[in-house]
Symmetry: C2
Subunit: 301 residues, 2 copies
């Protein structure tokens, strides 16, 4: 089942973590890698993110049974176009992008005839670049595969086994449904975090120094997410526009209702919501999707 | 300067932490405590949150030089009324509430003639109740005092020294300005977090199970804050209504602009904001107000 040769295109947080995780969990597999930025290639070689850092994408994918695109979702099509005609027969092409319908289309149209199985490991940190990756990033996280109907089931099983070897749990999902689910659990949270951090930075009545000093009241949590890679996130919003706007509409409706409750002094409405929202945290912790310690365990309690 | 006898009214996360911090940092001071809930009083005695748990508030404050109210901000007035006439001459009355103008008025009108210096240690976790407190909660955090003009400066200096002894940095501020600053750095972040968690729970197209499974994409960060004490937060929004609505208006304007940028495919506008918001995270970490490790250090990277 295992892939003997794996090519990683893009050697930032995700690509670097894939390379390191393969070395740790699949010692029988060898990895090649490529990044469009020569500085990133050099740093990737220094850190040993993959076994061989190549100078071109074509060189990296030559002989690979699995090609993993780890570039911003808006750059997938162009990155794939560079290896058109270089793929080994039977190679599986996948990616790690956060929006899936648009990425699937981009990969398929750049690589006609190839076996393309888009994927999204729901894992990451606010860091980016070749120094950010680590081998355990995918452990206990979910990886969603979105094979279009008619995809070779053996290839899907093989890619599933790959992600499971890296420590992830695998789920198969329709690309459109993925994009809706992730709009809620990832894209809207990022959009809101970027917005509130921007709002707080631009106020005249409250200084930037005050915002920083008193951020432990809750604001600092949002700044972590709002420190995420700008190119990656710009592309996510541009490629998952409909689902993001749909979910943003729901959020805004709910926020408006809460605003009215505050204006009217409707304490019961506030209390009801604030009580309901506790359960979901409990379930997330129970299912191992967050740290059970208070405050994410970040302080030395 | 130090207080020999300190009374803590309300023995949840904040009150319990004050008691434990005094024991650790001010061994020359003795503490009494009271909570309206008999179960909380029993648990407080078992954990030794204060030296003596009393059966009435009046008993707790008898002979105290400092009285610290640690109840929800909407309950401050009623809690203070219970000790009217029981305060020792020269006692300083303070609190730990998250809104300050309303609390200051409530305490002053319940305790006419008393030296009331409202305070807000900007610290906490999502836990609440008598098991949640710990001695180091205030270390490296800011505590804001909002003495009204004309307050005895010696009393302000004494209360400042008390909080500094507990590990906090002290800042003096006008109550109205405090309420505006904290609306941005704490109240709006909580309101947004409660809202998005509520929105995600109520969707029909995306199941609750999916929201939980894929929460590591960003959503889980918001669930921590949205697990905070419902009564405390209801009261914060009811007592800091004007500042919260003002800041919510700014946030909504900015969110609407971003929504338009997504609809129009304006990648530059998105990229510009997402780049700007990184700096503030860096400053927060540099100033010791958050963990420098990626992902708050919560994973075992």
């Amino acid at each position: 089942m295992t892939f003997t040769r794996i090519a990683v295109i893009g050697l930032g947080l995700l690509g670097g973590s894939v390379g390191l995780a393969v070395r740790e969990s699949l010692p029988g597999s060898s990895t090649t890698g490529y990044d469009a930025d020569p500085d990133v290639r050099q740093r990737a070689a220094e850190r040993g993110l993959v076994d061989t850092v190549c100078d071109t994408a074509a060189e990296a994918v030559a002989g690979a049974e699995l090609v993993v695109f780890c570039v911003p979702v808006g750059a997938m099509g162009a990155a794939a176009a560079k290896i058109a005609g270089e793929l080994s027969p039977g190679a599986i092409v996948t990616d790690v992008g956060s929006s899936k319908a648009a990425v699937g289309e981009a990969l398929r149209s750049a690589l006609p005839g190839a076996t393309v199985i888009p994927a999204h490991p729901v894992a990451g940190t606010e860091r980016s670049g070749p120094d950010a990756g680590f081998a355990s990033l995918f452990r206990h996280r979910w990886c969603i595969l979105t094979p279009p109907s008619g995809t070779d089931q053996a290839a899907v099983a093989r890619l599933s086994a790959f992600w499971e070897a890296l420590g992830a749990n695998v789920e198969i999902m329709d690309a459109a449904h993925h994009d809706l689910v992730l709009a809620v659990t990832s894209h809207i949270p990022h959009l809101i975090a970027y917005t509130i951090v921007g709002t707080a930075s631009d106020l005249e009545e409250v200084t930037r120094g005050e915002v920083i000093k008193y951020s432990a009241g809750g604001f600092r949590d949002f700044t972590r997410i709002a420190a995420s890679d700008p190119v990656m996130w710009r592309d996510v919003f541009l490629t998952n526009r409909e689902a993001v706007l749909e979910m943003l509409g729901r959020f805004t409706e709910d926020l408006t209702a809460l605003q009215r409750a505050i204006r009217n002094g409707d304490g019961d409405a506030l209390f009801d919501l604030f009580t309901r929202t506790r359960d979901i945290r409990r379930s997330i912790v129970e299912q191992g999707q967050d740290d059970a310690r208070p405050d994410f365990g970040r302080s030395d309690h």
